[in-house]
């Protein structure tokens, strides 16, 4: 990464050193197949001889245990959750992602702050406020947005890990039952992603297709990036 750019002020107390690595983000709603694709891409890049580091939401050393515990209770407000996720994200960015980029790694991030922001806004956060909160975020080299219809998501969820309270937005009760709430909630998330697409320069990939077809598109976009 030759030019280091942040969405806002970044980390003013940090010296701006060179980051030879590349930051590639996979975005998309729940059940869109991000983890599967992340694994495939990782293996593919490693076979080419690249050092790869992967990271995902709620995987920070600092905040993930506390955040997991908070999600088990019923006092976690949307606002508190926004900021807790932002803490988790900042910890990973400063302590995992940036050091890896400095060391020349390709960092594959399974989601970035766009997901968190979409969820916050669906839960009533002021979009402008949410964007400014992430003013410390580094601009990725490539954001691949896996876009699928709710129908596709439902099928993946039913045949995969099953429905879950948070992925169905049951904390804000989009409907009285888990299934309907999931559909409403995911539709709203997709709307937010679509709104962000131009603003943040997402490369949209149709994820209503077989894993291999999606993977070959992703490879193409990553190869294009490597040529630059």
């Amino acid at each position: 990464m030759n030019q280091i750019e942040y969405y806002g002020a970044g980390f003013p107390y940090k010296p701006n050193t060179d980051m030879p690595g590349k930051l590639i983000v996979l975005e998309g709603t729940d059940g869109v197949g991000r983890s599967t694709q992340t694994q495939l891409i990782r293996t593919w890049l490693e076979n080419q001889g690249h050092a790869v580091s992967d990271t995902g939401l709620r995987r920070s050393t600092l905040a993930s245990p506390g955040l997991d515990a908070a999600k088990q209770g019923h006092t976690l407000s949307s606002l508190t959750m926004s900021l807790f996720y932002a803490t988790d994200f900042a910890d990973r960015l400063e302590n995992q992602i940036i050091p890896a980029l400095r060391a020349g790694f390709i960092v594959l991030s399974d989601r970035y702050f766009y997901s968190t922001m979409a969820r916050d806004i669906v839960r009533g956060a002021d979009p402008n406020w949410a964007r400014k909160v992430y003013g410390f975020a580094l601009k990725p080299n490539l954001v691949l947005y896996l876009k699928a219809d709710v129908q596709t998501l439902v099928s993946r969820i039913v045949n995969g890990r099953g429905f879950n309270y948070w992925e169905a937005g049951m904390d804000i009760r989009c409907a009285e039952n888990l299934f309907d709430s999931f559909c409403v909630y995911q539709t709203r998330l997709i709307e937010q992603f679509d709104l962000m697409s131009d603003e943040f320069g997402f490369v949209t990939v149709d994820a209503n297709r077989p894993v291999s077809a999606i993977f070959s598109d992703l490879k193409k976009h990553i190869s294009d990036l490597q040529k630059t």
């Binding site: 002020a9 606002l79 807790f84 803490t87 003013g135």
Partner: protein, 247 residues
Amino acid sequence: MISKEKYPGKLIVVEGIDGSGKSTQVDLLYKWLLAEGKSVYFTEWNSSLLVKSTTKFGKKEKIFTPTTFSLLQATDFADRWENNIRPVLKAGGIVLADRYAFTAYARDVARGVDPNWVRNLYSFAIKPDLALYFQVPLDVAVERITSARASLKYYEAGMDLGLSENKVTSFRLFQQRIINEYERMIDEFGLVVIDGTLPVETQQNQIRLIAKKLLHRWKGLPPPIPPQRSHHRKIKIESDFSERESA
């Protein structure tokens, strides 16, 4: 800070560096307001149970950066704001806060985060009805802190900034930066300055006068109806109750 929402309650906050005496004063104010028959809720900086284990872990492992420290304290504040502060303000009670968003504006900026960024973080919260700033010279605060405590803690002393290997020196340098930020905020947010070097009683009398003015003619949430045998309540308050009962 400065959400446009209006609440029937009153928010009073105290600010100042460690050792400025603000906690002593807010405690006395709290007791006085209770004795006056007010509905009062007291809240302290960094006291959310939801966030506690994470803060403790981060401090113990020394893994905070200025940004994560700032975000986690905002998380802590958000939890208290949603679950404690805001409901009481909506109900018409008085909230006393030992430190408020200004603490973040002062400390986090002293640690090097962007001033506008941290101001945005807290923009969901309201501007207090009264913000008291306890102004003391650095030497006074340092003397109070170092004589009262066995040793300064790592983050308290700002050791994460690498200003000095020596804890007391680091503490002094860090606190001076915080003072500089507070001084800038006096005008920005209309902080009411209290001279923290005055005797405790003198400061408390000043504060009660200011609070009296603020609460003059204000009708907040009455306290619970006292048991029948209690005679110590003031007549004025009892008449408030009878109005409420007949309403």
